[in-house]
């Protein structure tokens, strides 16, 4: 135990003071700040892109269309029908597009002339002019049309998990954010664990350490230091998220209505204790599984330059887990989602995402956790074997046959 504490505390202090950790923490912090503040800063320019319009219509039609369009767009001017529409006209009226409106056989005909057709808010224009179209095709009064178009639509949740649409949207946004966090933390810190193992091996300090401390103690301490730093990073980032949340524009998922990082949101039903517990548990399971594999495999390399080539294939399950996790947030009942929520290395992402947005039977959660714990035990055995031998293996990297021999050899 003393060995473990010494190695753990020594490694922790080294890693906390290391440049990669500090840079990673700062970059993550900047990313979180950007995630919250950039939408607010950029929103006006993004939302208003292409919304300055010039109406081209005869006076009576223009008089009817203008108030409708002005509700959601900026009308910079009105010119009579037949006016030559070109870039100079748009420039003169400081408009992004000219909306030409004319009477047609079954209502009105609308043609939009835009400097940049991809930025035309045609949906908004269509919605704004809908009453005018109905009026011209049915000859009803404006009041009648307004009444007819004002359908009262209410969404009531039958889910036992969420009581409202807003709450479900908030949970989706939050789940998305947490899955992103999960992915970043697992990838970033597993790579750190891998680099630390490779550094000790390539600097030849490993032999000195192994002469003193049991290799398994070294491996476990290294992986747990990675987990500690991940939790530390998470706390910093979530803390910043909470601090910025109330004034922010929403989650990473861009859920406009929900503000899952607002203190109220966190304390409310959006982030239930089960979801928090699931996040922590699945984060730890995922991190421990992946970083242990990384550490074991890193012990086989002889040059830090080789890290990239071996980490590439090992990242694949993590990336797959991340994408299926994102899929699970939008479609938690898909068969692939259900199946992969039991597959170790993938399930930390997928099962957590399912739990965050849907009601998952308790037996499924229990089975997934049990399978993950079992897999972690197997991975620790596998990585321990590799690490014990790999740290003393210099020269050419071992072939697969040699790795197999290592795994079969007695401890």
């Amino acid at each position: 135990m003393n060995d473990f504490i010494t190695v753990y505390s020594g490694d922790l202090m080294r890693r906390i003071k290391s440049r990669p950790f500090i840079i990673g923490l700062l970059l993550g912090t900047f990313a979180i700040i950007a995630m919250f503040k950039l939408p607010t800063m950029l929103a006006p320019s993004i939302v208003n892109q292409g919304t300055r319009i010039l109406i081209v219509a005869d006076a009576p039609l223009a008089a009817q269309a203008r108030p409708l369009l002005a509700k959601t767009l900026t009308v910079t001017g009105v010119v009579p029908a037949g006016t030559k529409i070109d870039r100079a006209l748009l420039k003169r009226f400081d408009a992004d597009s000219a909306v030409s409106i004319a009477d047609a056989k079954n209502g009105i005909g609308v043609t939009i002339f835009a400097k940049n057709p991809t930025s035309v808010p045609s949906g908004r224009i269509r919605a704004a002019l809908l009453p005018l179209q109905v009026q011209h095709s049915t000859h009803l009064t404006s009041a009648q049309i307004a009444t007819a178009l004002n359908a009262n639509i209410e969404v009531r949740s039958l889910s036992t998990k969420f009581h409202s649409v807003h709450q479900a949207e908030a949970a989706q946004g939050l789940a998305m954010t947490l899955v992103v966090f999960l992915y970043i933390l697992v990838i970033l810190n597993s790579q750190f664990v891998m680099s630390a193992v490779a550094e000790e091996k390539t600097s030849r300090i490993a032999e000195l350490l192994i002469a003193t401390v049991d290799p398994m103690v070294l491996l476990v301490a290294k992986v747990l230091v990675g987990a500690t730093l991940s939790v530390l990073q998470l706390l910093v980032w979530v803390g910043i998220g909470i601090a910025l949340g109330p004034g922010g524009s929403g989650s990473a998922a861009g859920s406009a209505n929900a503000n899952p990082f607002s203190l109220a949101g966190l304390l409310g039903n959006t982030l239930s204790p089960e979801v928090i517990a699931a996040f922590i548990l699945f984060f730890l399971l995922g991190f421990l599984q992946i970083s242990t594999v990384f550490a074991g495999v890193a012990s086989l390399i002889n040059r830090t330059e080789d890290l990239g080539s071996i980490s590439g294939p090992m990242v694949i399950p993590t990336v797959a887990g991340y994408f299926i996790g994102i899929l699970a947030i939008n479609a938690p009942a898909l068969p692939i989602v259900t199946v992969t929520s039991f597959v170790p290395l993938l399930s930390p992402f997928v099962m957590f995402a399912r739990m965050a947005v849907s009601h998952v039977p308790l037996w499924q959660i229990g089975t997934s956790i049990a399978l993950n714990v079992l897999a972690l035990w197997g991975i620790a055995w596998f990585a321990g074997k590799l690490y014990r031998v790999g740290m003393m293996l210099y020269g050419r990297p071992p072939k697969l046959g040699q790795v197999w021999d290592i795994l079969r050899s007695p401890s």
Binding site: G10, S18, R204, L208, A211, T212, M392
Partner: protein, 298 residues
């Protein structure tokens, strides 16, 4: 006492150790000799339990070497390694703690070693900024801070300049005086002869010779008798005694004779044969014994 009994170790199809045996008395200094690739480092790693032997047994005072015993040992590997960004003092303390020392004591001992090894000006600097020789001194402090019962040093003198080699020699003699058992390998025979009380020569994974220098010499079948000045009468007398001429240098004649020869009688015969001013029985050096043990020409 350290006892190494018939240890064997293979790496895949390569037999690194076939049969290595020796024993070392407590408090002695033991030299492990052998050419590159002979199995010295593997033997050391097995003693330290870094590697498990495929066969044979290693024990310290009769007990198999386990984790708690290993904490009381020290090790300076051939391939040096330090945490490059960690400060020298911090590093020495860290390794002291790994060997069971507690912080205040480890700090005091680290300061004493830093002073002893004359690396005080680097104490707070990262190890990577030190020269190779100074890094080696830091490693020696890391290995010996906890006053180990057994200290294993793999090529401790390599990379050290003569001044630093003398410092290390003094440190090792000091440790010996305090009762630490030392096992060291080196290709510099003169340094080993200054330090070691017993030796083991390994070649191709096998023990070729083991014992004190006296024991190793006594097992040597011949001696060189240096007699001079060289003359035909002297050569004639040597031939009659059954000695073979090993060479002639600086006017003296080197004769190869059986180790159990009657040297007093031999001296009388030579003085009767000619006027001689030199008669010297040259004991085989460690270098000679080593070369013969590994099968190289002497």
């Amino acid at each position: 006492m350290l006892s190494v009994e018939s240890i064997k170790k293979s790496f895949g199809s390569v037999e690194a150790l076939r049969d290595v045996s020796f024993s070392i008395g407590a408090g002695s200094v033991f030299g492990l000799l052998g050419p590159n690739g002979s199995g010295k480092t593997t033997t050391m790693r097995i003693i330290l339990n870094i590697l498990n032997p495929d066969g044979g047994r290693v024990s310290w005072n009769g007990s198999a070497i386990d984790r708690s015993l290993r904490r009381r040992f020290g090790y300076l590997p051939e391939e040096r390694g330090l945490y490059g960004k960690m400060a020298v003092r911090e590093q020495i303390i860290y390794f002291g703690r790994l060997h069971g020392l507690h912080e205040p004591d480890a700090g005091k001992r680290a300061d004493a070693w830093i002073e002893r090894l004359e690396i005080g000006s680097y104490a707070l600097r990262p190890a990577a900024e030190l020269s190779k020789g100074n890094q080696q001194k830091v490693q020696i402090a890391c290995a010996a801070l906890h006053e180990p019962e057994l200290l294993i040093l793999d090529e401790p003198f390599s990379g050290l300049d003569p001044v630093n080699a003398d410092i290390l020699l003094a440190v090792l003699l000091d440790l010996k005086a305090k009762g630490t058992t030392l096992v060291l390998s080196s290709h510099q025979m003169w340094q080993l002869e200054q330090l070691c009380t017993a030796y083991c020569v390994i070649n191709k994974g096998e023990t070729r010779a083991t014992g004190t220098l006296v024991e190793l010499r006594s097992a040597w079948p011949t001696r060189i008798v240096r007699v001079g000045p060289d003359s035909p009468a002297l050569r004639d007398a040597a031939g009659k005694l059954g000695a073979t001429i090993a060479g002639s240098e600086n006017g003296d004649l080197d004769l190869n004779v059986p180790a159990n020869s009657d040297f007093a009688a031999m001296l009388r015969r030579f003085t009767e044969a000619d006027s001689i001013v030199k008669f010297e029985v040259v004991e085989p050096s460690l270098h000679d014994i080593y070369l013969r043990a590994i099968g190289a020409a002497v």
